[in-house]
């Protein structure tokens, strides 16, 4: 996003002092170049500092994140390792390794890291994969900023036990995963149903929609009704934007 100062005060730097808008503080490498120009035109009142690189922002220290991998995700991790570490290392400029002894994926910043938020995103990406999402779906976390991951338990919604619980899980999944796919498609989210836990990946509004649908299913509504509801909500949301 361009800073506002660029477009507002085109040539009238004499009368106006360009004040850098706070949004220019966002860590975008692309905008860094554009920022340099208006900074030069700022009057001598403001001290000018060059942009810090990522590791300098952290205070010159190396930060590390650890993501534990459960056993059942071990082999999928092994299979998809290439697809996992390539974007982290190349696009985010981080260092990543899998600690075999502790069974953790460790991600570390280095000198080349320019973006301060890269580490968090990489950690989220790995975590999403570990939870059960596909690599391509989890990759969206790196590419898009406003995707979130939500987890809740089925028993949080309604205290179910035994068969009821199983039936609830069955309702959520549907025959051949039909219901789950339907919800995913309509609300543009990804859902992982792991025993009694439900993980949803998507943007905030969409997570809300999907969550509502799943909760309705848990509470016992038939899938057709849930389809109708989510369709209505999704169409309204689509119209708005």
């Amino acid at each position: 996003m361009e800073p506002l100062s660029d477009t507002d005060c085109a040539g009238s730097t004499d009368t106006f002092q360009e004040v850098k808008s706070k949004r220019s503080q966002k860590r975008k490498r692309a905008a860094a170049d554009a920022e340099m120009q208006p900074e030069e035109t700022v009057a001598a009142k403001r001290p000018q500092f060059p942009a810090l690189s990522g590791d300098q922002l952290a205070g010159g220290e190396v930060e590390m994140r650890r993501v534990p991998v459960p056993a059942h995700r071990y082999s999928p991790l092994k299979e998809n390792w290439m697809k996992i570490f390539t974007p982290i290392v190349e696009h985010l400029q981080l260092q990543v390794r899998f600690n075999l002894k502790t069974r953790n994926v460790e991600i570390k910043t280095c000198r080349e890291t320019s973006d301060i938020g890269a580490l968090t995103r990489a950690a989220d990406f790995v975590k999403a994969f570990v939870l059960g999402f596909q690599v391509e779906d989890a990759l969206a976390l790196i590419r898009l900023d406003e995707l979130f991951l939500e987890t809740f338990d089925i028993t949080d919604v309604k205290p179910l036990k035994g068969d009821h619980l199983s039936r609830a899980i069955g309702r959520i999944a549907g025959k051949g995963g039909k219901t789950k796919f339907t919800i995913e498609n309509v609300t543009k989210t990804r859902i992982v149903l792991a025993d009694t836990k439900v993980h949803i990946l998507g943007s905030f509004q969409n997570i809300k929609m999907a969550r509502t649908a799943i909760c309705n299913l848990i509470l016992g509504s038939p899938p057709s009704k849930v389809y109708g509801n989510i369709r209505a909500v999704a169409s309204r949301a689509a119209e708005r934007f």
């Binding site: 596909q134 990759l139 969206a140 995707l147 219901t179 796919f181 543009k188 369709r231 999704a234 934007f241």
Partner: protein, 694 residues
């Protein structure tokens, strides 16, 4: 030297006399006389200056300079002299006033004293006398003023307290001096002669200058005599010019007017009458009041008073009356007239039993009486009004019948209107409207009604929009969002393309409009094609687009169109009859009809078949299964033939022998049975043949 002075003065006087012998000359500018006057002024000034006593210092100018000086400058020189001496004269006058040795009782004495004081008094007076003749129709005003001023200066010592150094009014001084002269001349003049006052210009109906002065003199004398007395008698008749009582000390007054004590003074003595009725005024009695007023004020502020009165006095008598009318205080009574009523009031009349008091006095009644009369009259009026019927304006709700015709037009009514009045259409409003219209036309801003279109959205379309995909999506989440983003950014592109379409559409519309205009003027309609309309017998509620106000079960088709009545053409009046309603004739009729129809059908069918067989020729085609069955059916129907079925008799059918043996057996048994009945046998035989179970 006195003699020298006297001679010069004499010569000056002579010169003056000669110059002013013909006052009509002064209507035009007389330069020669002006120079004479100037030289006269100079000589007199020099003369005076020579004799100036040492203690009072006039102006530093020893001589009056007149060469190459214009009037204004000469005047200023004189003024220098006069101002300087003014204070001196004032002091002298004061001294003279307070001086006990000098008394003012007698005019003659005064005059004598005055004479003593004066150096050139006589001459000055005589000079003044003559100057008095020269009136203000003189064009050379300034010269005149100079001269009078100069003459005043030596005679300033003359002045009483009446005119202490004032010289603003020419006439006034002249008057006084003339008076003094006359007094001097006629020493034996006493009171009565005062009546002949010389008219001054300030005199009018009320005020006589001479009388005022006389009164002042009297008062001073009295004051001198009565200064011993401490208390003042308030009810004493105050002395006036005309009052003869004053002159018991010295006969001074000159009254030809009747005297009135102060208690008897009435309003009309002082003020002019009301415009309607001019009451006889006593001008002298008015003067009386004015004179008193003057006396009171004059001791303090002479000059101002003089000026005011001069100003006042210059008005005419009529003006004076108007002014007095303004001064008059009027009560806002309905009748301000001095009418003398015959009846002062009913009550009073009754009480007094007659018109005892109704004799109007020859003179107007006292003000109190008048007021009382008016009040009583008013009271009477109010009472009659209260007792009588109220006018229609005051009686509650009034309809048109109760009030006189068109009486509302004369009334000023105030009422509130709840509703907003229609806007008054004036030229301005129409102009405004036209302005707005013109502006709208220029801006091409029309208020055209936009056709509203109901957006038809069917449920099907709505569902199409969001297809529920039950399968796992092939795109990953990232790609999904990517696609959405692209769609959003590309929306702008799409919108940009459409304007081209829009423009094309617009151009086409205009083109077609023009074409239509060309062709539609000679419009030939298309030939009418009978329209085939399919009407389905659905409930009309689905056929109509707009929701009906009330749902109805009515169908589009009429009952006759649904089902034709039986024998529609022949039996139009007939009703459909139910099964129990039919009579035997009806039943029979129906049966006949049915049979007829059936017969026709069969005949047609056979005809067709024959035609078909004939066409086919001699081919013994194997008949189709259906046809075979049909023939079988036909044959077995009437009971004529029976289809042989395998009912345990199979063997018999298989061979002819078996068949015939069975037949034989059967016949034998029958013969045995029916030997008796020969007639029946035959029949039976016939029947049994047909009825053989095979």
């Amino acid at each position: 030297m006195a003699s020298g002075d006297g001679s010069t003065l004499e010569s000056c006087l002579q010169l003056l006399n000669s110059d002013t012998a013909h006052p009509e000359l002064f209507l035009s500018v007389q330069d020669a006389l002006a120079t004479d006057f100037r030289s006269l002024t100079k000589t007199l000034y020099d003369l005076h200056k020579a004799h100036e006593p040492a203690d009072c210092k006039g102006s530093p100018l020893e001589q009056l300079v007149i060469e190459n000086f214009d009037e204004e400058q000469i005047w200023q020189e004189l003024e220098l002299q006069n101002d300087a001496l003014l204070t001196h004269f004032e002091e002298a006058v004061e001294q003279a006033v307070t001086d006990d040795t000098i008394t003012f009782f007698k005019d003659t004495e005064e005059e004598e004293e005055e004479e003593e004081d004066v150096d050139n008094g006589e001459i000055a007076n005589s000079l003044e006398e003559e100057s008095a003749e020269e009136d203000e129709d003189d064009d050379d005003d300034k010269d005149k003023e100079e001269e009078t001023k100069q003459r005043l200066k030596p005679s300033a010592g003359n002045e009483d307290d009446d005119f202490s150094g004032e010289d603003s009014d020419l006439d006034f001084d002249v008057d006084k001096f003339e008076e003094k002269n006359k007094q001097k001349q006629s020493t034996a003049k006493l009171s009565k002669s005062r009546s002949h006052r010389t008219p001054s210009e300030v005199d009018d109906r009320f005020f006589k200058l001479s009388e005022m002065e006389a009164f002042l003199d009297d008062m001073d004398k009295r004051e001198g005599n009565e200064s011993v007395e401490e208390d003042i008698d308030y009810f004493q008749n105050l002395p006036s010019d005309d009052d003869e009582e004053l002159t018991f000390d010295k006969p001074v007054a000159l009254t030809k007017q009747k005297k009135k004590s102060s208690r008897d003074m009435k309003y009309k003595d002082f003020f002019a009458p009301v415009d309607a009725k001019p009451v006889e005024m006593d001008p002298e009695s008015n003067d009386d009041y004015e004179g008193e007023e003057d006396d009171d004020n004059e001791l303090e502020e002479d000059e101002d008073d003089m000026n005011e009165e001069d100003f006042d006095m210059e008005e005419d008598d009529t003006g004076d009356g108007a002014r007095n009318a303004l001064r008059k205080v009027t009560f806002d009574l309905p009748d301000d007239d001095d009418d003398d009523d015959d009846s002062e009031g009913e009550d009073v009349e009754d009480i007094l039993g007659g018109k005892a008091k109704n004799v109007p006095k020859p003179e107007s009644k006292s003000s109190f009486e008048k007021r009382q009369e008016k009040m009583a009259k008013k009271i009477e009026e109010l009472e009659t009004a209260a007792l009588s019927e109220k006018p229609w304006q005051l009686t509650g709700e009034v309809s048109a019948q109760t009030r006189p015709e068109n009486s509302m037009l004369e009334e000023d009514i105030a009422f509130d209107q709840a509703s907003r009045m229609a806007p008054a259409i004036t030229e301005e409003t129409t102009l405004q409207l036209e302005e707005i219209i013109k502006q709208r036309i220029k801006d091409q801003v029309w208020d055209d009604v936009v056709r509203k279109e109901k957006p038809k959205e069917e449920v099907f379309e709505y569902k199409k929009r969001l297809t529920l995909d039950h399968e796992k999506s092939k795109l990953s989440l990232a790609e999904v969002y990517e696609q959405e983003y692209i769609k959003q950014t590309q929306e702008k592109k799409v919108e940009e393309e459409n304007p081209a379409h829009v423009e094309i559409q617009k151009l086409m519309d205009t083109l077609f409009l023009k074409l239509d205009a060309l062709s539609n003027f000679h419009f030939t309609p298309k030939p009418h094609v009978p329209e085939v309309k399919v009407v389905s017998n659905l409930p009309s509620i689905t056929m109509e687009e707009v929701a009906p106000v009330n749902a109805s079960d009515a169908t589009l088709l009429a009952p006759e169109e649904i089902k034709e009545r039986p024998c529609f053409e022949k039996n139009k009046a007939g009703d459909v009859l139910g099964a129990t309603e039919k009579t035997t004739t009806d039943k029979k009729r129906e049966r006949r009809k049915k049979k007829k129809l059936k017969r026709l059908k069969i005949q047609e069918r056979e005809k067709r078949q024959k035609v078909k067989e004939a066409m086919k020729g001699g081919d013994e085609k194997k008949k189709s299964k259906a046809e075979v069955e049909q023939t079988l059916k036909k044959l077995t129907k009437g009971g004529k033939a029976k289809i042989l079925t395998n009912d345990g008799m199979d063997k018999a059918l298989r061979s002819s022998q078996a068949f015939f043996s069975q037949l034989q057996d059967q016949v034998k048994s029958q013969i045995k049975g029916s030997k008796n009945q020969t007639a029946k046998k035959k029949k039976q035989k016939e029947i049994s043949v047909s009825k053989l179970k095979l």
